[in-house]
């Protein structure tokens, strides 16, 4: 990543990025308007959300759903859309629907 707030004299020529994989350091979570929330009790760990997430923001550990990567998650809602598991009352929202639901992002 270039030096934060580099002046035009310091910035890399033509915006070249000289380190591989540096997108990981760029916070896209600030773009989020809606925030996905997860019901850990009802999740079957089917990993369909992990397959569909376009920003690799579903973190899995030892074959089990672990957490959202809110540093990168843009809140697109695909995970909530593809989640196949229904709940009567969501652990976080208290509402009926799916294991992953979208909520308003608290600013």
């Amino acid at each position: 990543m270039p030096k934060p707030n580099a002046s035009w004299k310091e910035a890399n020529i033509a915006g070249l990025v000289l380190e591989p994989g540096s997108a990981a350091e760029y916070e896209t979570g600030t773009w989020r308007v809606q925030r996905p929330v997860h019901d850990a009790d009802k999740c079957t760990h089917c990993m369909i959300c992990w397959v569909y997430c376009p920003d690799s923001s579903i973190i899995v550990k030892d074959g089990r759903w672990k957490e959202f990567d809110y540093f990168h998650c843009k809140g697109c809602g695909i995970c909530a859309s593809v989640c196949p598991v229904k709940v009567e009352a969501h652990q976080v929202t208290g509402k009926p629907g799916k294991v992953i639901q979208m909520t308003d992002e608290k600013k």
């Binding site: 580099a6 033509a14 070249l16 000289l18 591989p20």
Partner: protein
């Protein structure tokens, strides 16, 4: 030691000859009249094994410039050629090439942009690209097209610049006219341009680099500031390379070429082949005692504003001949005139300036037309009054 030979070459062939001697890594090009002679000749060089170039026969000019950008990002020395609508089809890539700081060298054989359909010379094609971030160098003759092409490589690849360069010559008038061109030996051209080793390259797998990445409001502005800074350094490099070329090959180059300017009270500014017509008329009028001079503009981007204002000190009135119209600009004047007016204003100059649009779509400009310009210019100088800011040469009124 430069060994030169004189050859009868069309302007386009002179450019192709320079390209053969430069022997770039990649040429991606699409043929279009009147540039075709360059691409056709160059592809023959490739087929005959006279160059090592990877020649990419693309499906359009959009693809041509895209391939050039990719090849340049991969670290290659890259060249192409186009004209008119071909240049227009390259539009977005022209900006991308300049913004990505790719030192691509391109021949542009100036031709009118449609419509109505016209394949003959005017400068509306490259003038439309004047804000794309390229360096623009105009050539009066096949000799200059040859010389400028060789110099363009050095200018483009200069580490302070890393900017693409467009080398213009007039379609048909220069591009298809046979002239005597003094060509140097291959080794001298190679020695002059030297080798090119970019600081960053896609093929440098030990240092993975991303080119043309997403660049938002937090950095884009800084990168544009860098780009305009590079253009501001370009004139110094162009002049240095022009002088060095003169030392090596005997033909030095500047930002513009003055003729009979020492005690001139009136002056004409013009690009490319029409400078020859102007020079002939001015030589004759000088013999009649008229104090008239010529500034043949060679470098249009970056525009030598301060240098031109300085060269015009003491000149009462100047006429700018434009081979294109900046539609909707001040009285529909031409781009060179607009730039010169800005230059004179910024320098606090009192020199009167008038504009003539000429030669659109290949319309001939004759000595009698230039005589008319100088006659009217003399009236402006004597009276201090501009009665017509923009006029048309050789138009049926």
């Amino acid at each position: 030691m430069v060994v030169s030979t004189k050859r009868a070459l069309e302007g386009a062939h002179a450019s192709a000859h320079a390209m053969r001697q430069i022997n770039p890594d990649v040429v991606a090009a699409y043929p279009i009249t009147p540039q075709t002679a360059i691409v056709q000749t160059y592809s023959q060089y490739v087929a005959d094994g006279e160059v090592d170039t990877e020649f990419i026969a693309v499906e359009s000019e959009h693809a041509a410039m895209s391939a050039c950008i990719g090849a340049a990002a991969a670290g290659g020395r890259v060249m192409t050629a186009t004209a008119a609508n071909g240049l227009a089809l390259m539009w977005e890539e022209l900006y991308i090439a300049a913004s990505m700081r790719m030192p691509i060298v391109m021949s542009c054989v100036n031709r009118a942009l449609s419509a109505p359909l016209n394949i003959h010379c005017d400068h509306s094609d490259s003038m439309g690209a004047r804000d794309a971030g390229w360096i623009h160098i105009f050539s009066e003759t096949g000799q200059e097209a040859y010389d400028n092409t060789i110099q363009a490589v050095r200018i483009a690849e200069h580490p302070d610049l890393l900017l693409p360069v467009m080398v213009m010559q007039d379609g048909f008038i220069t591009g298809h006219a046979v002239e005597l061109v003094e060509v140097a030996d291959d080794a001298s051209v190679q020695r002059f341009i030297g080798s090119y080793s970019p600081a960053h390259s896609l093929l440098d797998i030990d240092h993975p680099t991303t080119f043309g990445a997403w660049d938002l409001y937090d950095y884009y502005f800084e990168h544009k500031r860098q780009q305009t800074d590079a253009l501001s350094k370009a004139m110094k490099v162009i002049l240095e390379v022009g002088q060095e070329f003169g030392r090596e090959f005997g033909r030095p180059y500047g930002a513009f070429e003055p003729y009979a300017m020492d005690d001139a009270e009136i002056a004409v500014i013009v690009l490319s082949s029409t400078a020859g017509t102007c020079r002939t008329v001015i030589r004759e009028l000088r013999q009649k005692g008229l104090k008239v001079g010529l500034l043949k503009l060679r470098v249009f981007r970056p525009f030598p504003a301060a240098e031109l204002a300085e060269a015009l000190k003491g000149v009462k009135a100047v006429a700018v001949l434009d081979r294109s119209i900046s539609f909707g600009s001040m009285q529909g004047s031409g781009p060179v005139f607009l730039e010169l007016c800005a230059a004179l204003y910024a320098a606090g100059s009192k020199t009167k300036a008038i504009n003539y649009i000429y030669g659109l779509g290949g319309r001939d400009v004759l000595p009698v037309d230039v005589e008319r310009v100088i006659h009217e210019l003399k009236q402006v100088a004597d009276s201090g009054e501009v009665t017509s800011l923009v006029s048309y040469l050789g138009l049926r009124e």
